[in-house]
């Protein structure tokens, strides 16, 4: 009789424990393009997420974290929206995260708004994304944030008067160009010409030649990461443009590690506006890079940074709400949160829920036999200028 009672009690206790453990799980749905042409960015971002979890444990505010990962395959907003819906309805996630690509982030934003789920955009960089849902925060960057700062710097401290722009002919390229021109012209510079190249362009010789024909003082470039930065860097050298004489300006993709490796000495002298470089000299960053390299045998990049800080935001927001996962509580906790990230000091703007961070101006120089990005200047506490202007109206 006593034995039966013991068995029943143990069973009941076990069931109760299981039930309460389940109730204590916080589910996070990650939507990224794990396959397709953007797969490498997704890999780097996901690596950083896994690293953060490894370093900080799977339990936050007394609740265990569980991750559900979904692949969009590339730019596919209809798929992203469906995956977000399924994560909410089928998997019952509490938080939506990831989002490398703008169209996907925009589509999923609708789901976040309707289902009132906290959403953290960890890479997509178009300004308007955060306006899609009141429960959305971003920990990566906005294209205008970096490029306007670069443009303003170029016309003032950079001492550049005239520039020729060459950008990829799609949203992010146009955004980069527009941001740069806003900052550049706003500080008194002049744009002498421009050309746009197709998105998946493998060969830049013709476009670089067009730039060379005008013999510009400076060239502004915007290309997406991947194979193109190295290709255009090499094309510049092959067509006779020396980045040390003609100032070449761009966003950090142009001189990231794989591009520098592929370009060789053709990269020397290129100036980029960056929100994160793995070479950034801070104790926190050096520790981060060391841990990343040890785990994944390659250096982190800005994709990784967005993921790492995104996880930090999720962890801290959960700690602040005491484990409560409803959208309003989490976004309320996220607004205004500030911390020292490996990239530098960052915070989440309480008005726009977008990231405020330092933009570094860096130049490729040879240090100890290696070509690296050296910080020459920085602009601190940069907000997304597009939304700042939107709010003023």
């Amino acid at each position: 009789m006593l034995r039966k009672l013991a068995v029943v009690t143990t069973a009941a206790a076990a069931l109760l424990a299981a039930a309460s453990v389940h109730a204590q799980t916080v589910k996070i749905g990650i939507i990224l393009p794990y396959t397709g042409q953007f797969a490498d960015g997704a890999t780097q971002l996901d690596n950083a997420i896994k690293l953060y979890v490894k370093q900080n444990g799977e339990t936050v505010a007394g609740r265990k974290l569980e991750f559900v990962r979904k692949d969009t395959g590339g730019i596919a907003p209809d798929v992203a929206k469906r995956l977000a819906q399924e994560l909410v309805v089928r998997d019952q996630v509490d938080i939506l995260a990831g989002f490398l690509l703008t169209p996907n982030a925009l589509a999923a934003g609708d789901v976040s708004a309707e289902a009132k789920k906290f959403m953290v955009v960890m890479n997509a960089a178009t300004s308007i994304i955060t306006t899609k849902s009141d429960y959305m925060a971003r920990t990566s960057l906005t294209t205008p944030q970096v490029n306007e700062s670069l443009g303003a710097w170029a016309a003032t401290k950079g001492g550049i008067k005239k520039v020729y722009t060459m950008v990829s002919d799609y949203g992010p390229g146009h955004d980069g160009e527009q941001g740069f021109i806003n900052g550049f012209k706003g500080a008194g510079g002049e744009v002498i010409g421009s050309v746009r190249f197709p998105v998946a362009n493998p060969d830049f010789a013709a476009f670089v030649q067009r730039a060379k024909d005008l013999n510009p003082e400076a060239i502004y470039i915007w290309v997406p990461g991947g194979a193109q930065p190295a290709a255009i860097g090499k094309a510049l050298a092959e067509r006779g443009i020396d980045a040390r004489k003609t100032k070449v300006l761009s966003q950090l993709e142009l001189t990231d590690e794989s591009a520098r490796k592929a370009m060789g000495d053709a990269a020397l002298g290129i100036i980029t506006g960056a929100h994160y470089d793995p070479e950034h000299k801070s104790a926190r960053n050096q520790a981060f890079v060391k841990a990343y390299v040890a785990e994944y045998k390659r250096s982190p990049n800005f994709f990784s940074m967005g993921g790492y800080d995104g996880m930090h935001l999720i962890y801290e927001a959960l700690k602040k709400t005491g484990g409560k996962t409803d959208g309003a509580a989490l976004i309320g906790a996220a607004k205004g949160m500030a911390w020292e990230s490996p990239r530098g000091p960052i915070s989440i703007d309480p008005e726009t829920r977008d990231i405020i961070q330092t933009v570094y101006i860096q130049r490729v120089e040879k240090v100890g036999g290696e070509n690296v990005n050296v910080e020459v200047d920085k602009v601190e506490k940069v907000k997304d200028p597009v939304k700042v202007r939107m709010m003023k109206k």
Partner: protein, 286 residues
């Protein structure tokens, strides 16, 4: 004028890369009517082989390229003997489906073994940068690319026109049934041609690493361009592939130089126009 010559040469060089990647598919398609959409997977094999031999084993560039040719050719032969043979009687659509399946498998396999990271290879210093000839800048690597492709083209045409084996291939392309009827071992000829084509694609892949970069999605990205060259050039024709690749490369580059707002538009427009004018391809027979 000078800048135009430079740009046109660059386009020609790009076309030569496409030639190397496409010529194998053109000949095997013309010979056996076998639709091998996995052709660019051989290029990927060659590319990753080059990267592995150079970066992990420290081989010099040229040795790695030769190895890329051999490895890709070997993979092609193995694939042909084990799997493709059973599908020669299958319908075009089935062949498409099967080979697309092979491409998908190869993309996932390379992503697994090499990660999605962009691969690069340290080519020798004398192949980097530019040389000045008559005041025009020519990229050293492009000159190298053109040289290799021209050498290959000459070799192939010699093989086709001056050797017994070449005669066999020409006979099989012209009229397979008749060739068999004459006692020609078409299957063996096809296997060797397939290996050659695969090897050339592998060589192209190895050369492409420095030129356009290498990622696991290479097999899918370049498939479209290769199909365009093959269709425009005409099935079963080396000369056709050469001319088509050159025309497409040059017109793409010239288009981007003179009408940059047309962008990638021009290459597709040229293809459509050429196909409507010559449906069987520039040098095609059927």
């Amino acid at each position: 004028m000078q800048s135009l010559v430079g740009v046109l040469f660059d386009g020609f060089a790009y076309g030569m890369l496409l030639f190397l990647l496409s010529v194998g598919l053109s000949v095997t398609l013309g010979m056996m009517n076998f639709v091998n959409l996995a052709h660019c997977s051989f290029a990927m094999v060659g590319g990753y082989a080059t990267v592995s031999f150079m970066n992990r084993l420290g081989w010099p560039f040229f040795a790695a390229l030769a190895a890329a040719f051999v490895v890709a050719a070997a993979v092609a032969v193995v694939l042909e003997r084990t799997l493709y043979r059973r599908l020669y009687r299958a319908s075009d659509l089935d062949q498409c489906l099967f080979t697309i399946g092979i491409v998908f498998i190869s993309v996932a396999a390379f992503a697994f073994f090499y990660t999605t990271e962009l691969q690069s290879a340290r080519v020798p210093e004398y192949l980097r940068g530019a040389v000045q000839i008559m005041g025009i800048n020519f990229a050293a690597y492009r000159i190298f690319l053109v040289a290799v492709s021209l050498a290959m083209a000459v070799l192939l045409i010699f093989l086709l026109e001056r050797t017994q084996f070449g005669a066999t291939v020409r006979a099989a392309v012209d009229n397979q049934r008749m060739a068999r009827g004459l006692g020609i071992d078409v299957d063996r000829a096809f296997m060797i041609t397939f290996a050659l084509g695969g090897g050339l694609a592998g060589l192209g892949g190895g050369l492409a690493v420095e030129f356009v970069g290498l990622e696991p999605t290479f097999a899918l990205t370049y498939l479209v361009y290769v199909l365009i060259v093959v269709a425009v050039g005409g099935l079963g024709s080396i000369g056709g592939s050469f001319v088509a690749a050159a025309v497409l490369g040059i017109s793409d580059m010239a288009g981007k130089y003179f009408f940059p707002w047309l962008g990638a538009f021009l290459i597709y427009l040229v293809m459509v126009a050429l196909l409507m004018w010559r449906p069987a391809g520039l040098f095609g027979k059927r």
